[in-house]
Structure formats: C-alpha cells, structure tokens
C-alpha cells in the first residue's frame, strides 16, 4: 500500500514543461473578464456611497433654504405645528417624538430584553424552536398593520379604558407595589429568628408607619379621584374636561404602544446576539461556584453583555424615533397639531408630521417654506438617528472586542 516512495515518484514522472507566471495567469481575455467583473462589483458597492451622499445632499440642500429663510421665531414657541400656515414649531414635534419614544421603549425594553434572556438562557430547544420564529414573524408585520391595530384596538380598548383615570392607575400601581413591599417585609421579619422585645417593638412600629403611609397614599389617590375613580365610582362620570380625558380617534400613547410592539423583536434580537456572545466558560464557572441559574444570569451573563444590551436599547430608540406610519395613523392628529405634552392627546411626531404634510396632495403645497420644512425636520431626524446608530455600533463593537 505504501510502496510508493517519494524518490520513486520523482523518477517515474517526466520533468514538466517549465511554467512561467504569465502562463499560469491564463489567457488575456480571462484576465480582462476578471477585472471587468471586479469593476462591476465595486461599482455596485459604490452605489451605497452614492445613496448616502444623495441623502445628505438632498436633506442639507433643502434644509439650508429653510434655515436661511425662515423666521426663527415661528420655530420655537410651543405654538403648534401648522406648516401650511407658516408655523413650524419644532418643540411640538420634538416633545411628541420624545413621548412616543419613551412609551414605546417602556413597552419594548422590558419585553424585548425579557424575551431575549429567556430565549438565550432558559428556553429548551423545543420552546425556542416555536417562539423564535413567532418573534420573527412579528418583526415582519408591516407598520401599517400596527397602525391599524393601534387605532382600532389599543386606542379604544386599552388607552381609552385606562386613560380616563390614568393618573389614578399610576397611583394605585405605586401604592399597590408599596403594599406588596410591606407584605414582603413583614414576612421577612416574621421569618427572622431574632425575637428580642426591642426588635419586635421596632418592627411593629415600622410596620405601623408603613401601613399608614400606604393607607394615606391610597386615601389620597382616592380622594383626588372622587367620582372619577374606578374604585369609588363610575368612570363615565368623569367630567369631560379634565386631564384624564382621552382624545378620540387615536392618541400618542396608543400609537406609542404600537411602535413599542414593532420594536420588541428588534430589541430582542440585538440583545439576544449580545447574550449569545458571552462565553460559555463564564456561565460554567459561575455554576461551578454554586450559583443558581437566575443568579448566574443576573450577576454574570447580564453584566458581561451589558454593552450589547445598551446597544439594543439605543437601536430600539432609533427605530422608535424613525417609525412613521403607526403614529401617522393612530397618533390622533391630522396634518397639523397643537402643542401637547400629554400622551393621552393627539399629536404629531417628527416622522408623522412629515408624512401628513405629504398626503393627499400631488406635491407638497402650502405656504412658501412648507416643502423645505419637510427636509429640515428630516435632517433633524436623520442626524439624531445617525448619532444613535453610531453610538450603538460602538457598543456592539465593544462586545465583539471583549469576547
């Protein structure tokens, strides 16, 4: 089998014709073809550069006209966004954008991160095999669908029902949590074997104080609410003109929840990538020290992946800021908006403001600078999201470097 020795092979083969580098390169036409193809591919790659340049040129050019010609007094004064009347009030759009982004992240942050941790740390193969694709399907749902859902479900069934007494629910939530805290504390103390008279008296006093605090909290919330409370009476009896009143046909909060739902899969997938990049050894070492799974996750895996998780949140914020259709459809404002700082009223975010300016008309019409105002808002939005994305990119890169 191994009878062939090297020397035998050398002696039996004829000496090959001497090969030059040119001969190896093959015919000229082959090389030309290669370089043409390479050039084509390079050109294709350059297209993205071209697009970037075009985006920046288009934004800056039109925005520059706006910046140089607009009367700056109309852009800053909480007067409302009425582009067709020449009122380009940026705070109106910015505050709404912030409200939507914050509420959206309140939805997407915990849910996305929770889903990511569960999928990466706990889920069995079977559960993962079912739930991961579902999350991916959710990622693929078009934003107009979420807009429809936000307008026809979230707004009437969720926001309008709790929105009438939103502050009450917040109050009840806080006092409820305080009550749970008191309960837990009592139990902990109960369990404690240290039972000298002094400590018992101390505990009783503390408990009494805590209960009083919670009680006062409840009592206060209740008395503030009066007839409008879901506990004390009829929510429908709430006066129409109060801060709990919800605007029909959509509110910022409903749109924001819709945006949040859209953002969940994005946050989840980026955070899951970050968690997956944490090396196994860390988990094993932690388990080897006797830590429970939950302890390992909370105190080893999460801190190790923290930059990736931060990146996930930042990317989520950027996505929520840039989301257009949901707010446009369910945000509760047509093509102009009063200044509002309440999530339970209608408003226009930067994106929705742009979209509403462009609907229903052949070209953007209105007062002189309306068209340019579109690009000014676009430039602001572009700058913010670009900044966020770059920062998020840094965080992601940091995770990659470390492991």
């Amino acid at each position: 089998m191994t009878d062939f020795s090297v020397t035998e092979m050398v002696t039996t083969t004829r000496t090959p014709p001497s090969l030059s580098v040119e001969a190896l390169a093959g015919p000229q036409s082959r090389q030309r073809k290669e370089s043409i193809i390479r050039g084509l591919f390079f050109a294709a790659a350059l297209v993205s550069v071209l697009i970037s340049v075009l985006i920046i040129v288009s934004l800056v050019r039109e925005a520059w006209t706006f910046i140089t010609q607009v009367d700056w007094a109309v852009t800053w004064g909480e007067t409302g966004w009425f582009p067709r009347r020449g009122l380009y009030d940026m705070p109106t759009l910015l505050v709404s954008s912030i409200i939507v982004t914050v509420v959206a992240m309140l939805v997407a942050g915990p849910l996305g991160l929770g889903a990511a941790i569960y999928l990466s740390e706990y889920a069995s193969r079977r559960v993962r095999g079912i739930l991961k694709p579902v999350l991916e399907v959710l990622a693929g749902v078009p934003s107009v669908v979420l807009g429809f859902f936000a307008l026809f479900f979230i707004s009437p069934q969720v926001i309008e029902k709790i929105g009438r007494s939103a502050w009450l629910w917040i109050g009840y939530g806080i006092s409820g949590m305080a009550a749970v805290g008191v309960g837990m504390w009592t139990l902990r103390a109960w369990r404690d074997s240290d039972t000298t008279t002094a400590t018992i008296i101390k505990r009783v006093v503390t408990l009494a104080v805590l209960i009083t605090v919670v009680f006062v909290l409840f009592w206060w919330v209740n008395s503030v609410a009066q007839d409008c409370s879901p506990v004390a009476g009829d929510t429908a009896a709430c006066p129409v003109e109060n801060s709990f009143t919800v605007k029909r046909s959509g509110q910022l909060a409903a749109a924001a929840i819709g945006v949040g739902i859209l953002t969940i899969p994005l946050v989840a997938s980026v955070a899951e990538d970050a968690l997956a990049s944490v090396p196994r050894e860390l988990r094993e070492a932690s388990a080897g020290l006797g830590a429970r799974k939950a302890t390992t996750t909370r105190q080893v895996v999460l801190p190790a992946a923290v930059s990736g998780i931060v990146a996930a949140f930042i990317i989520g914020i950027s996505r929520a800021l840039g989301e257009t259709m949901v707010v446009f459809m369910a945000g509760g404002a047509a093509d102009a908006a009063e200044f509002t700082s309440s999530p339970f009223e209608g408003g226009l975010t930067m994106t929705a403001g742009m979209a509403s300016l462009a609907t229903g008309t052949d070209s953007v019409v209105g007062e002189g600078l309306t068209f340019q105002s579109l690009y000014f808002v676009g430039l602001v939005l572009f700058a913010i999201t670009l900044l966020l994305n770059v920062v998020a990119g840094r965080f992601v890169a940091r995770v990659r470097e470390r492991y």
Partner: protein, 526 residues
C-alpha cells in the same frame, strides 16, 4: 447507590422511600394545583375579555370610600404570601405561622369586603366569595392545631389559591349566564387576578419553570406571542364582513370615494405593490448581492472598505421616511441630473413611439416609488447577503483555487451556490419589507384617494411602460387611505381590515418561508 448501613437502619432504603414519597407528594400537589388553578385561570381570562368588551359601569361602582384601601392592602399582602410560598421565597421552616398569617389576612380581607357589602344590602352574590375564606380558615385551623402527616399533606396555600381561582370562575360563569348580574369590580378583579397568577404559576410548574425571575422572562416572551394573536384576531375580525361577503369584488375592485360602493377594492393596490416588488427584484437584488460579494470577496482590508461597511450599516438604520424625502427630491421635485436623465429617456421614447414624453418631472410615478423602495431595501440585501457569503467555508474557495479557477469562477461556482439559501432568505425578507412599507411612498406621493383605473394594462409596449410613468398606489397606501377615511365613513374600517388580511397573508408567508428556509439549511449544514 452506595449508602452504608448505620446500625439497624438501612439508609439507602430510607432515602429511596423518602424520595418516592416526596415525589408522589409533589405529583399529587402538582396535579391538583394545576387542574384547579388552570380551570379557574382560563375562566378568569375569558371573563377578562368579556368585561373588556362590555361597558359595565356598575361593575366599577361597587365599593367606595374608606374600605377599599384596607381590603386591598390585606388581600395584596396575602397574595404576596401566596405567591412567595411555593417559590420558596418565604422559608420552609415556620410554615405553620406563615400559613396562618396568610389565611388570616386573606380571610380577614374577604370578611371586611363581605361586611361592607352586607351593609349595602346585597349579600346573595357574596356566597361565592364566602367559600374562599371559609375553606382557607378551615385549612389553616387544621394545620395550626396539629401537624398533619407529612406524606399526605397537601400544599394548602396552593389549594386555597386554586379555590380562589374556582371562586372567581364561578362568579364569571354566573356573570356569563346572567348579563344583568354585576359583581364588585375590585373584589372580582383581584380574585380574577389571583386566578390568573395561579394559572400562570401552575403553567410554570408544569413547564418546570420555578423561579420568579424565570417566570417574568417567560411572561415577557409569551406576551409578544399573545400580542401577535390578538392582532391577528382583531384584524381578521374587523375585515370579516368584507372578506366573507364580497371577496371576489373586493379583489377586483378599485379605489372609491364611498365605502358603500360596489366596486370598492384593492386591485390597483395589488398591481402597484406587484410592480414595486418588481423594481426591488430588478434593482436592489442584483446591486445588493454584487455589493455584498465585493465587500466579502474582493475588498482589500483598508480604510475605504471599513468606511463602505460603516456606510452600509448606517444606511440600514436610516428611518424609511428619510428615503421618502430622497425619492421626493430626486424624482418628484427633480434635480439637474434627474432632469437630464428624464430628458434622455423621453427623447428615446419619442423616437420610438409617437408620444411626446414618457416621464414628467414633478409627477409622482410608479417608477419613482419603485426605485425609492429599491434604494430603501438595498442595505438590507447587502447585509444579509454579505452574512451568507461570509458563512461560506474557506476550504471551498481554496479547493476551487487549487484546480485553477479564477476569482470570479470561484465565486460563481462555489461561493454563490453555497450562499444561495442565505441570500434568498435575505432577499425574501427585504421583499416583504418593501411590500409592507408605506412611509416613503406617501412622501413620494402615492395616491390614497381615488385613482382612475387603467383600461389596457398589457395592450402594447407603450402601454406597458406607460404605467410606470403614471400615478400609482400600493397595498399599504390603500390601507392607510382607508383607515384615514374611516373617521368620516366608518365603512372603510372593515375594508382596511380586509386589505390588511391580504397584505399579511403575503408578508407573513414570505417571512415564514424565509425563516423556514434558513432553519432548514442551518440544520442541514450543522
């Protein structure tokens, strides 16, 4: 197992016996607890939906004034105990004390509620609520008086929780049977809430999830799924009148100004989306895949390549509405360059056909919309295709080089075929994204209102190309328009729902195919 015998006691047998007994104990507990709480929880969830959809004012008007805070405090702390116990947050020692505490608390809370209700004169409905404290008290007294036999002991608090769930369930059933029947908002809500928690815990125990941390995480994930289900149910429910009654007409109809119009439908939207998808396939796919191949195979590792990479990544993060601005700037408003290009196209057009011009600057055309969306998805195509190309094993390339292939031959014969499933997945996702995207089209000026139907779509070459130079609409735009109109003419709501179902069928199908394809190949190659 290697246990030594100590004296007369057979340790191994003891241990085995204990394990068996505890196992059986746990099993009994789990089955009782799961079935009780599960049944109650399901009923409670059903009831929550029922109350959700009904505007029951009396339900919230049950309590007032001084009492609810105390009752709530008591019951909430009891709930805290009940939740804490099976999760071993509260220690296993001194359990009798904490049981007693829990049951006194929950019983006291319920008794206070009852007294309050009594003073208002409506006792009969409270019978159901009475069950819980009575049972709980009985149990706790039994427990406190003498330690029952450990092997037959049930996890009492779990049983009580299950009973609470059943009590809530009974109230719900009664409510379902008798619409006039109104329960107390808070009491019912708390019991229902408890039942839901109980059901969730039961489910968790069944699934082997036992820490509260894990439960929270699972709930986060499950909520996403539940939201998706609610969304689908809502959309299909809203669109059902149209889908069930006039699907055929709806399919072939056009945009109309009144929702009652017989000829209202989505044919124009489908056609527009179809052509937009065509533009994406024709423009974004070749360029995107070529760019990905360049980045992965050809690009030297230098600063320019790094910059290209960063540009592509950042382009993927640019909000879609900004692409709309780009499209508006390039095609609708028109720049010097676009004017020049359009003039050339028009002159060629005029030399072939007799018509004056094909494309008009300042017009929102299908061409403008299609190209804008192609630009929008280009970075997505590049990124996913680059990932697929990166995953091709180096040995394949080296093998091909070894037999004398040139770079392009290696790419064509080895890299692209191997990366094809990954690339296909990415392109499908991109296509689904393009078809569902509305914001850029709105900016470019797709039509949301009435659009004159074209009579002859394929009657000639000029007609065929002519439609790219015409005003257009697309599925998501149709939906947006109808949703906006539904404020004035509510009949547009169901139409929008039906259109969404059509869009979703297509988009979800594409996404699922993409995901399944990827999973299949991942599994195959792993």
């Amino acid at each position: 197992m290697a246990f030594a015998s100590i004296g007369d006691i057979d340790v191994a047998a003891r241990v085995e016996e204990t394990i068996k007994r505890r196992g059986a104990d746990k099993k009994v507990v789990a089955s009782i607890w799961t079935s009780l709480a599960g049944a109650g929880g399901v009923l409670a969830i059903v009831a929550m939906f029922v109350t959700w959809y009904s505007d029951d004012r009396t339900a919230t008007a049950w309590f007032s004034g001084f009492l609810p805070p105390i009752a709530l405090l008591l019951v909430v702390s009891a709930a805290a105990v009940l939740v804490a116990k099976p999760l071993r947050i509260v220690g296993a020692d001194r359990r009798v004390d904490s049981d007693l505490f829990a049951f006194v608390v929950i019983g006291g809370g319920a008794l206070l509620m009852m007294l309050r209700q009594l003073s208002r004169g409506g006792l009969s409905d409270m019978v159901y609520l009475l069950i819980i404290p009575l049972v709980a008290w009985t149990f706790s007294v039994v427990r406190a008086l003498g330690r029952p036999n450990r092997s037959t002991r049930l996890e009492l608090e779990q049983v009580a929780l299950g009973l609470a769930a059943i009590g809530a369930g009974l109230i719900v059933v009664k409510r379902l049977l008798d619409p006039e029947y109104a329960t107390g908002g808070w009491a019912w809500g708390l019991l229902a809430g408890l039942a839901v928690v109980a059901a969730a815990l039961a489910a968790c125990q069944y699934l082997g999830i036992l820490s509260i941390f894990q439960v929270t995480l699972f709930v986060a994930l499950a909520l996403s799924v539940i939201i998706l289900v609610i969304l689908l149910v809502q959309v299909i429910g809203d669109g059902w009148p149209v889908l069930s009654e006039r699907l055929g007409d709806f399919w072939s109809g056009t945009l109309r100004s009144r929702s009652g119009d017989e000829r209202l439908g989505i044919s124009q939207g489908i056609l527009g989306s179809f052509w937009i998808a065509g533009f994406v396939v024709m423009i974004a796919f070749p360029i995107g895949i070529a760019a990905a191949v360049y980045l992965e195979e050809y690009a030297p590792r230098n600063r320019f390549t790094t910059m290209l990479d960063i540009i592509v990544r950042n382009l993927a993060g640019v909000p879609s509405v900004v692409y709309g601005l780009l499209g508006l700037f390039l095609f609708v408003k028109g720049t010097v360059v676009t004017h020049w290009i359009i003039d050339r196209v028009n002159s060629v057009w005029a030399s072939i056909f007799d018509e004056e011009q094909l494309i008009e600057v300042g017009q929102s055309t299908l061409f403008a919309g299609g190209v804008t969306l192609a630009i929008l998805v280009l970075p997505i195509v590049i990124i996913t295709a680059a990932e697929a190309v990166r995953a091709v094993p180096q040995s394949l390339r080296e093998g091909a080089y070894g037999v004398g292939a040139t770079k392009w031959e290696v790419i064509r014969s080895q890299v692209l075929p191997f990366a094809a499933p990954g690339i296909l997945t990415g392109t499908l996702l991109a296509l689904a994204r393009a078809v569902g995207e509305a914001a850029p089209l709105i900016l470019v000026g797709a039509i949301t209102g009435r659009l004159a139907p074209r009579d002859s779509m394929f009657s000639g070459v000029d007609q065929f190309f002519g439609q790219f130079a015409d005003r257009f609409t697309a599925m998501p735009i149709v939906i947006v328009g109808w949703v906006r109109n539904s404020g004035v003419d509510s009949g547009f709501g169901p139409a929008a729902g039906a259109a969404i179902v059509m869009l979703l069928v297509f988009v979800i199908m594409m996404n699922s195919v993409a995901v399944l394809l990827r999973n299949y190949f991942e599994k195959k190659r792993a």
